[in-house]
């Protein structure tokens, strides 16, 4: 996480623009170097309905350079991506050993998007992860053991075993909101976070993610529109990974680029290659800056592919194998490694060392997670209500306007 920055009072110009109800010019900026379409064909094979894909499996172009990232920042992103991947390998391992309660969700192939987006946030900003954003949790300062203990339902987990997966948060230190399972509901909540902050004199960014599936929900529309109408600093990353569970994009919507929806809210949008962390970072950086300036929400559509099933139990046999093959060539870690190598920022030996270092760290995290006991049920019915155990406190900086 970048260093703390002084609180930003809302600039008067932005306030004026907001009061005048000025319409932002809606525009979609496409940062991609390859513009892909994935038209699946629904057909029958041996009497079964299946999807087919007839596109060509090609090699990806180089990443898109951005001036906004220093060497150290780029390497930090790389490290988080690696941690993300290795942590998920450990989770798979824990699952196979029967140490996980319920299922495991993977962000394989999405690490670059998850990490680079969260990396664009400042310490005053807020975020709320979705289930595949385990990388963003790491960026935000959570330890792999937190994630592991959530999956293992341990007493040491952030929710003390009350909830699982990435369903946790931290209001005080890390400014992270816990999601709920119902997709879309985070969006107005994050808009509300910006509203609350604004009323205390601060313009902040509030980042959350949504899938191609989740953006069909009504609450997506209500939330984005609310943020637009109130010009709140929502930064919404649509991770368009082509599938909502088993349902391909073309059964969900009649458009190809979900970013075009931004026009309907009068807000700007980006389309980025979600396997290129540089593009993701660049778009999110701009969106966050816009939020800080009181400019309102931004949508970033990241095109990528969910490289595993919906959860660990799902073999994803509905996915045409060649489609997976296409995306396997776009592994974000491999691509980013290529970039860093080309820049001379990452040598073979550093890479090996880093990987080894993370493996060691992860083993320690895992050991710590495993050593946490299961919760005891004595207080299972307590804490349903806040009986003055917490003290919600605003911190006003200047008058709310």
């Amino acid at each position: 996480m970048p260093k703390a920055r002084a609180a930003r009072p809302r600039p008067a110009a932005a306030a004026l623009a907001r009061r005048n109800g000025q319409t932002a010019a809606a525009m979609v900026t496409d940062l991609r170097r390859e513009k892909l379409r994935f038209d699946l064909r629904e057909t029958r094979r041996d009497g079964k309905v299946v999807y087919e894909w007839e596109g060509r499996v090609t090699d990806p172009p180089p990443l898109r350079e951005t001036a906004a990232l220093s060497r150290d920042q780029a390497l930090a992103i790389y490290r988080f991506m690696l941690m993300n991947r290795i942590m998920e390998q450990q989770l798979e391992n824990l699952y196979k050993q029967g140490q996980v309660v319920g299922g495991v969700y993977f962000g394989l192939g999405q690490e670059g998007c998850s990490v680079a987006s969260a990396f664009a946030l400042g310490p005053d900003d807020w975020m709320a992860p979705m289930i595949r954003n385990q990388g963003s949790l790491l960026v935000r300062g959570f330890a792999p053991r937190d994630v592991m203990m959530q999956y293992m339902a341990k007493s040491g987990s952030p929710t003390r075993g009350r909830d699982g997966t990435s369903h946790f948060g931290d209001l005080e230190k890390r400014r992270m909101i816990s999601p709920i399972s119902m997709l879309g509901d985070l969006i107005p909540v994050m808009a509300g976070v910006c509203l609350g902050e604004r009323m205390q004199g601060r313009e902040v960014a509030a980042m959350t993610w949504i899938g191609d599936g989740g953006q069909s929900t009504g609450v997506f529309h209500e939330g984005v529109n609310f943020a637009a109408a109130q010009r709140l600093g929502l930064v919404l990353v649509i991770e368009n990974n082509l599938w909502a569970y088993s349902t391909p994009l073309q059964r969900q919507v009649r458009i190809t680029d979900l970013a075009v929806r931004a026009a309907g809210y009068g807000i700007p949008a980006f389309v980025v290659d979600g396997t290129d962390p540089l593009q993701v970072y660049e778009a999110c950086r701009q969106a966050v800056a816009r939020a800080h300036a009181g400019g309102g929400p931004t949508i970033i559509e990241a095109k990528l592919m969910r490289m595993k099933g919906h959860a660990i139990h799902d073999p994803a046999s509905y996915v045409p194998p060649r489609l997976l093959e296409f995306w396997r060539r776009r592994d974000p870690i491999v691509r980013f490694e290529g970039y860093l190598t080309l820049k001379g920022w990452l040598g073979e030996s550093e890479r090996t060392r880093l990987r080894a270092e993370i493996e060691v760290e992860m083993a320690a995290e895992r050991a710590a997670a495993e050593s946490s006991p299961m919760p005891t049920p004595d207080d299972v019915l307590e804490g349903v209500y806040c009986e003055r155990c917490h003290h919600p406190t605003p911190h006003f900086q200047g008058r709310p306007s």
Partner: protein, 323 residues
Amino acid sequence: MELTFVDAIRQALIEEMRRDPAVFLMGEDIGVYGGAFKATAGLVDEFGPQRVIDTPLAESAIVGAAIGASYTGMRPVVEMQFMDFVACCFNQITNFAAKSHYRWNAPVPIVIRGPVGGGVHGGPFHSQNPEMYFVHTPGLKVVEPATPGDAFGLLLAAIRDNNPVLFLEHKFLYRRLKEDVAIDAPPIPLGRAKVARPGRDLSVITYGAMVQTALATADQLAARGIEVEVLDLRTLLPLDCDAIAATARKTSKVLILHEDTRTGGIAGEITAILQERCFDDLDGPILRLTSGDAPVPFSPPLEEAFLPSAQALANHIERLARF
């Protein structure tokens, strides 16, 4: 200060907003217009459009944004133009707000307030009593006052509470009740019922607009020698089980009266509590008088037949008294 029921609510909002800059309002048409029932009339002029926010027509966004703002330490009070519309933000309330503190220790100090109930010919979508949807959702609190004074004092408490509170205002009372309200009195704690009328022969347990029906009927029956105790629940979640048990023990006979529809209404819950707590104290069956199991019909003769009447209440009481 002499205040109608709705003005008592308005006054409570004003007092809290003056006292605490963390309190703000969101809702449809609550600003310049002052709300469909004028519960926020003039508030935008005193507190400005930044604290009295006219929102888009989108209940899930409103409640969602309230939850989000509350996470930053604010205390939003949301108006539903009619409480019937909570069905449009049901997930935000029952899954996001209600489960937040239990799951991850994050309190959600929001109030969702608005008009409920029938008797004004609002038809099926402007007359509902949605309390049981929320009484059955752990993590929420549910309040329904019966007098201007209680509306005032309970709303103060609801706003200061650290939990999501559904604050149900019976619209039949808005302009029909008026009383002197001490606006410097302390909040009325949530979770405490009130004996609205003491009596020895039989207890009527009720809340909201039905308290008036119960009191009027009790007066009538007193003339015939039946002394009815009226317990006004005031808070429906958490229920004041002690007060419920106390009145049952005192009179040994209980009738539960509610305007909400019958099956799954709160009468069942109270009956179960009484079975658990006061089985040996009861001299007659626990009865209930409620609306019928139907949508609230629009036409006056239909709605009148649908709602529990004073006459039916008197009949029930007399039957139970003879038991």
